[in-house]
Amino acid sequence: MSPRIPGAPRTLRSSLPASGVPALPARLPHEACGELEGFDPAWSRLVTVETFDGPRTFHVLDTGPALAEAGLTPTGTILALHGNPTWSYLWRHLAQAAVEQAEADPEAAGARRIWRVIAPDQLDMGFSERLPHARAPRPADPGVRRIADRIADFDALVTTLLAEGAATASGAPASAGDGGSAASGTVSGSAAGDTAASGSTTGSTACEHPVVTIGHDWGGVLSLTWAARNQERVSAAVSLNTAVHQPEGAQLPAPLAAALAGPLLPASTVHTDLFLRTTLSLAKDALSEEAVAGFRAPYRTAAERGGIGGFVADIPATDAHPSHSELQQLGEDIAGFRRPALLVWGPKDPVFLERYLRDLRTRLPQADLHRFETASHLVSEQVDVAGLVLDWLEEQFPAAAAAAAPAPAYAVPASPEASTRTDHIHGPEAARTYVETASGGAESRTDRIRESGALEGGAASAQPLIFDALEERAHDRSLASVDMSQSPPATLTWAQVNARVQAIAAGLVRMGLRPGDRVSMLVPPGNDLTAGLYGVLRAGGVAVVADAGLGPAGMTRAVRSADPQWIIGERPGLTLARLAGWPGRRLSVSALSRAERKALGVEASLEELIDAPEATLPQRLPRPAPEADAAILFTSGSTGPAKGVRYTHERLSALTQALTRVLDVRPGSSLVAGFPPFALLGPGIGAISTTPDMAVTKPRTLTASALADAVEAGGATMVFASPAAYRNVVATAHELTLAQSTACARVRMVLSAGAPVPLELMNSLASVFPNARIHTPYGMTEGLILTDIERTEVARAQAESEQAVRGPEADARTEADELAEAAGSSAADAAVANASAVANAPALGSAARTHVSRDLGVCVGRPVDGVRLALAPIDADGRPADLLLEGEEARGVLGEFIASGAHLKAGYDRLWSTDRAAARDTLDGLLWHRTNDIGHIDAAGRVWLEGRVQHVITTPEGPLGPGGPEAVVDALPHVRRSAAVGVGPAGTQALVMVVEPEPPAAKRLPAHGPAPLGLASAAREAVRAATGRDVAAVLVTSAFPTDIRHNSKIDRSRLARWAAEVLAGGRIRRP
């Protein structure tokens, strides 16, 4: 850890006695320090075992005795090992979660395994025995516990405890004991006084239940090593941030190198608690004062910190270091681990950097990975790692299997599956393919690995892949692609496009690109991107497409998470890659000068690959497998860090087929590609693509003239763009010349994607493109087309909604009257008696059936051919149910939309937990995607969107999507747009409307704060009439926060926080 993190707290200094660091006996934490927050004294015990240098006593967190006390027999064991400078306190959340899981009703649905957690404090660490040191330890000092010693210690200890667990499992529960102090050769604890033979030999330890390891920091590498060397005993391994091995030639992270350099080491680790405090400061936002005290408890004096110094001193910074060869060996051993593995990573760690994760993934290619983008070194203190680990373990070792098969095959040395991939396991990046289950679609969650090398397979090659359309047109000299961003516009024929794609693919392979290698594409849409992208796909690479709209920080985070081996970029992208230190070998698009190459770290250019003499030779590149990854796209990042979304080759192909089926984009069609995801697909369909002249990150820069010129240049009859772009097209339509207007009149289809389009905008577009059908499909990065609707249908749906007579008003009134009568009351005031009770319609209960006959929100039409859409009802607290409704059952219910189809995402990238949550539905054995979008389905089967799951407003009358109230308030005079947000606790929130006024009206209003009475009355009455809900407050703000990618998605979460602050009575700031 770094001793130089800015803002690290003040250090404690305490001097060492002249004799150095003394030996200290092991202690029980609650006896030495009193109770520590979150750490149950019943988990603490002292265990003495024989080690290479004699008997040693360890403090161990062990939930075994507590489970026995509760009459529970473990059906699995988790062996957890902390790093430096923590102790088993690090695993208190895991212990607590495992105990709670164990205590759940075993008969209940979803009952899980009973996991015993065993987490020793390493020797010289935590509350385990302290070794004597002649001075604060330095690298070569004798008496420093070496890596190899620590692995041996762990082995001796867990061997003893696992044997005891086996005894427990066979019907000898630990009995409550005396809890006395430890003596050599005995095991004692606070809750269990059972004994174990000191230094028991490894014998019949093949346990009847899974044994898994988990580690963090140096405990990660040590536990992985032990797991790899004991595969006959270990069923799976988990590691949080750790580093297995220093790659040859790579420098130690600067902070660590500084810590190791001579005189600083004892000062930072032993004499002061700087190292400890700095480590804890990395999670300071997440750690309570009590938790900080818990971590510090065993390290309060210099005499207690010898182990911290010893641990750091044992990091082999040079190959002369005593532990250097052991570190080399364990790196190789870990690569031989054949069991399921899970890596949980906090990327903000300043020491355990991305490169260590990359190294780990090459050693453990089977590992599932979840990155918590916002987390740092102490990842398990910042996010719920315990829950994730238990979820993952349940998936690997279902409780049902424990009940059905008491002696599972976990102890069998090696499964046939594992042995088949032995050859590939040491490869730098074994390509992963995912085996689909027989039921079709649903991915095997264990990510079983199939052969990785042979991409050319029998059945596989029969499936059309996205680049086939280009190869079929290898001799076609007609127009394929027009790039209006070049001056003059650059045109390519199909033959040229194909030649470039083949040359780039061959060149990349020549340079060493291997199937499954990831290639970050930092090229703006146009001919170069088309050639580069299809070239990468043809070569078997995986295109990582991080939209520049994410901004430099967002792109950096996205690219880091995808961890590409290659980067292809233009100067701006390469400069960013250089400055932000992105990984990967770099290629430019055009040839660069030698100086520029050097400055940007560029090896070659696409131009050179295309012009290379070898490029003219016939190439026979293997075809990627249909199940192999083809592309990583990113979500908008409007709800947290952008998520990587995986598309396989077959899913990309399915997407092109969906475009043909739904929108009639087919070979020979000509389209203007102004919306990136769709823009990339045209060449794969055999459709002529024209890229309009616009700044890709600023869709609002597309003018009507530029669009008309693109239509003319490509002879296009279809236009694809985003609503933000179309707004500007409409605004600049008066600049069109007669010729340009004529070109626009040839367009048959206008497609708006990326966000909903208001009918008014569609109508305005219809006057620019008088002969076009105007489509707006609904989709997201994870499923680009789920539903579709055409302008005339939007108008019909809207008219039907406006004509609908509100029915429930009368019902609400009757119910209120009945209640009044039941209460034994009549009207207290004659004038009051006539008042309606609509504003207080009785609570709807937990069912979310909407009480209005009027359909509100954004109508996005019906599911397209190839998509199955289901609905998960929202409960009173705003959570979507696990139950999926379809057909008639789903009508009129507020719910989350869940979709399935061949052209949807294969999964999220390196987000194991997110992926699992989004794809948790198993209806009909399909792979479903939780869209996080909420709304309802009307009587005619049309889908109405009403917002996002996290934007549900949970009023006492039931959950409400923001879309309904917004639709009616948006329609009021002087309102540019509105946002409905909930304020207050879930289940009893107040509904608040935030309005962005039209500019002329805005001038008369305060910039931010309460709306004037007239606007408040109008908005409140409109919402009451349409939804029956009460609006507590109407606020105005002159500028809504929106996401930077589309500039159209309102950041409602931020507005909700702002509204809550304003309505608490605080100072009014801008949102």
């Binding site: 209120a816 209640l819 009044a820 039941a822 209460a823 034994g824 009351s825 009549s826 009207a827 207290a828 005031d829 004038a831 009051v832 008042a835 309606s836 009770a837 609509v838 504003a839 207080n840 009785p842 609570a843 006492p956 304020v983 207050g984 606790p985 289940g987 009893t988 929130q989 107040a990 704060g1009 309460p1010 009475l1013 007239g1014 408040a1016 009355s1017 409140r1020 009455e1021 009460d1030 507590a1032 407050a1033 606020l1035 809550a1060 304003v1062 309505l1063 608490a1064 009575g1065 605080g1066 100072r1067 009014i1068």
Partner: protein, 337 residues
């Protein structure tokens, strides 16, 4: 059922008594001035007068205890005598007379110390932390009623109590809040403290009456509980004051006082008020123009979770805030917007 309503000279008490009569109950009223409720047996006297109390509870089956000293200023001993000792005497007398049901009208201020409340439930009354003599003594009184309930259950006695805490009640004819706001707005003395955007729950008076009446049958199902009573329609304090001013025929307030200044002024006024001559104090409505408590009430959020209240009472407010404002405007000849 024969019901005693205390404090029936006020708006809430008199309307409750009338509603009970209309529903066919027998009603006795107890207060110092004549109740003016036709058809009720009127006992005149204070809850601190044992003789009047004994006469009032005779023959009743239920008590709705509304009488209290309600003010933001005044002599601490008066609050104690009426709100604590008066409640204690009435409870004792009622139980001795065989009265079995008790609806205790309390205040949300018994449970909080002036901090912001957003969607909170009814927390336990706490005289230690309550702010000011009124809240402190009302808290003690509520605890007495609930203790009597618990004590009766333990002793096998059929006596049950439920505490209702109406929050900021207003409506036509309400002198406590509505007319003070209107009067001050007319005099140009109604300030906004801070932004005026703090979200505050209020209760239209007619709804309060119905909720109290609903508490009698509710006592057969639930007792020993406290429930905050509001319209369940929180509004920004500035908006509500503006609309009440308009309903009263006055202009909406335009005077803005920063929160810190409001709190400071409130503290100063509070401490100085009692030392002012009677003649000065009796000008206006006899209340200090601003207290620290009031300044806090006007500048921080105070709104509540009404789900438990509605579930227990099987009641929901029949008159919405907007309808209530229309009725208030009709009463005072004002406007709604």
């Amino acid at each position: 059922m024969h019901v005693l309503v205390t404090g029936a000279s006020g708006l809430l008490g008199s309307q409750t008594a009338r509603a009970l009569l209309e529903a066919g109950h027998t009603v006795t009223t107890l207060q110092r001035r004549p109740s003016g409720v036709a058809g009720a047996r009127d006992v005149r006297g204070s809850v601190t007068d044992p003789e009047a109390v004994a006469r009032a509870v005779a023959g009743t089956e239920a008590v709705i205890h509304i009488a209290a000293k309600v003010s933001v200023s005044g002599d601490a001993a008066d609050f104690e005598r009426i709100n604590v000792e008066g409640t204690r005497a009435l409870l004792t007398a009622a139980r001795a007379a065989g009265t079995r049901r008790w609806v205790h009208i309390s205040s949300p201020s018994v449970a909080h110390a002036g901090s912001s409340l957003t969607g909170d439930g009814a927390r336990p009354a706490d005289p230690e932390r309550a702010r000011g003599d009124y809240a402190r003594t009302k808290a003690a009184g509520e605890l007495l009623a609930l203790a009597a309930d618990a004590e009766a259950q333990a002793a096998g006695e059929d006596f049950r109590a439920l505490a209702l805490r109406p929050h900021l009640m207003w409506g036509p004819g309400d002198t406590q809040l509505t007319e003070r706001i209107i009067d001050r707005a007319r005099a140009g003395r109604l300030p906004f403290i801070g932004s005026g955007a703090a979200l505050v729950d209020t209760l239209f008076s007619a709804n309060a009456v119905e909720a109290i009446v609903a508490a009698l049958p509710a006592l057969e199902r639930v007792h020993g509980e406290s429930l905050v009573l509001t319209n369940g329609q929180p509004r920004m304090i500035g908006e509500l004051l503006s609309r009440l001013a308009l309903a009263g025929g006055a202009a909406p307030p335009s005077l803005h006082v920063p929160v810190a200044a409001g709190l400071a002024a409130g503290t100063v006024v509070e401490s100085a008020w009692e030392r002012l001559p009677e003649s000065v104090r009796e000008k206006g409505d006899g209340e200090p123009p601003l207290t620290r408590f009031l300044a806090e009430q006007l500048s921080t959020a105070h709104w509540f979770d009404q789900r438990r209240t509605r579930e227990v009472l099987r009641w929901s407010p029949r008159v919405s805030i907007e309808e209530g404002l229309a009725l208030t405007a009709a009463h005072y000849g004002g406007r709604t917007v």
